[in-house]
């Protein structure tokens, strides 16, 4: 058995307040080496503030942040030399070409001209920028701009790649493309830390997720383990009002975990086939549509917080 590697990011008792509002509240977090780690939560949960403290753009009001085993407050420059960050909003020079953007970023990492030229070539290929590399950024589509933003954060071949909402607002095919690149990086040994409020993104990419709300971590595990621990593998979803819902649940032989959001009731079971049969029997002649689907992190979030991910944290 190889020695387990120390965590790449280690946060202990970290809080961050802005005036009277507490953005992050006593957060403990370990990002294991070589994994894709997700910070999942609604807008305003404190995800971006957490990232900013990890790369040293924000100082914690309390607690410590260590990255690569070094205190970020004291060794920010050295830490940032080994990590890459793609910010939520693309930070690109619109009047320069994609290639020039990469060259300028490479120089911020103090790379020599030869290394920069080589890396630009590699990244143009890796992110399939092709002929777009020599276009003025202003003329690029949203998908190409996002890929360029990711390319910038890879100029130093980072050991830790931080992606803040990498696919928000992108077309489905562009999202798929970026996911495949993120998986490729992880397969090559890069530790990836992403924030997202898309549970499908977290489920597809992440080995482990922390669910955040109001600056706190309310769950921390592998996606499948979270689902198993809090709900069950499958869900039946259907419309009914509260009184009807009570009737349905009382009519079942066994109590099952369930959630309600508005007029929608969700009941969970590891193998929900019997549940669907039982509910349909209770439904009598109404023949309302029952949806059988895998349980997901959105359900876990709802069960933990009582709110949906797309609501404000």
């Amino acid at each position: 058995m190889p020695e387990p590697k120390p965590p790449v990011v280690s946060m202990r008792g970290v809080s961050k307040s802005y005036g009277r509002s507490l953005a992050v509240d006593g957060l403990d977090l370990d990002v294991p080496a070589g994994q894709c780690f997700g910070l999942l939560g609604p807008n305003g949960a404190g995800k971006t503030t957490t990232l900013r403290m990890i790369y040293g753009a924000a100082r914690p009001s309390a607690g410590t942040v260590a990255v690569f085993g070094r205190d970020v407050a004291r060794h920010g420059r050295a830490v940032r030399a080994q990590l890459g960050v793609t910010l939520q909003d693309n930070v690109l020079i619109e009047t320069a070409t994609a290639r020039e953007n990469m060259e300028i970023f490479g120089r911020h990492y103090l790379l020599d001209a030869e290394t920069i030229a080589r890396r630009v070539g590699t990244l143009v290929e890796f992110l399939q920028l092709g002929a777009h590399a020599d276009m003025i950024v202003r003329r690029l589509s949203g998908g190409f701009k996002r890929r360029l933003a990711v390319a910038l954060s890879l100029m130093n071949m980072p050991e830790l790649l931080i992606l803040d909402e990498p696919t928000t607002g992108l077309d489905p095919n562009v999202r798929q493309g970026l996911w495949s690149r993120i998986r490729a990086l992880r397969a090559a040994g890069t530790t990836v830390l992403i924030t997202t409020h898309y549970m499908d993104e977290a489920e597809r990419l992440c080995d482990r997720v922390v669910i955040m709300t109001r600056g706190r971590a309310i769950a921390d595990d592998a996606p499948a383990a979270l689902i198993a621990a809090h709900l069950a593998r499958e869900a039946i979803e259907f419309d009914c009002d509260e009184a009807e819902g009570e009737r349905f649940l009382a009519g079942l032989d066994d109590a099952v975990p369930h959630l309600r959001t508005g007029d929608r009731l969700m009941a969970f079971a590891d193998d929900a086939g019997w549940l669907q049969e039982a509910l349909r029997a209770l439904d009598g002649g109404d023949r309302r549509p029952f949806v059988l689907r895998p349980a997901n992190l959105e359900d876990v979030f709802l069960s933990l917080s009582g709110t949906r991910l797309d609501e404000e944290g």
């Binding site: 753009a57 924000a58 420059r77 030399a81 890459g84 930070v91 320069a96 020039e100 911020h108 130093n156």
Partner: protein
Amino acid sequence: MDVSPRHAWSVWRRNATLYRRTWKFNILPNFFEPVFYLTAIGIGVGAYISEIGGMRYIEFLTPGLLAVAAMHGASFEVTYNVYVRIHFEKAYDGMLTTPVGPDDILIGELLWSMTRSLFYGGGFFIVAALFGLVPFPGGLAALVVIPLAGLLFAAIGLAFTMRIPFIDLFSFYFTLFLTPLFLFSDVFFPIRERLPGAWLIVAEALPLLHPVRLARSAFLGEWGWVALWDVGYILAVSAVLLEFARRGVRKRMMS
């Protein structure tokens, strides 16, 4: 200050790379503007002035306008351009994800705006020389005044830009600060002969006065102790304002 010269240099190079795209449009006005001033004011207005302090009016005017050119070169850069980089391009947010630190950004921007002041002031110097208004070789000493004026007005502008909440305040900076400086800092008339004695001490607070006086000393080849005070003022005020700007950057970018 925690400055890494190589990281600050990468910030300077960023700006230089982008400037290279547009330099033709940026450089040319630098040459036209002094021609207009020297002909309209120097020759046009100057025709009605017999002499001033024993010299032709245009000769009095030229070193002052040299300092003004350096002031403007730095000022445009550290006001609108830096503001756009902070608030619209979010360029500093991007740089701060790399090993570049806030002090590197400040020093990189400072050096770049001094470079811009060299382009402006240098352009003026060349035009003035072509007009036959630069006494050689003594006038060459005035070239040192350009980066000094650039430093001073870059520091003043950065301190302002890093602290203001919205872009419209620059109109105050230009109309209520730079324009009166331009008009009342010994450039067009010797304030020593127009102000009562007590006010002369107050006038020493005007930043542009010092590079103007240094440039004129260089052109006249007459140096006095006051030159030491002028250089000291420029360095000290720049240092204080840069520290003020530095705290502004940290507050704005790193909270």
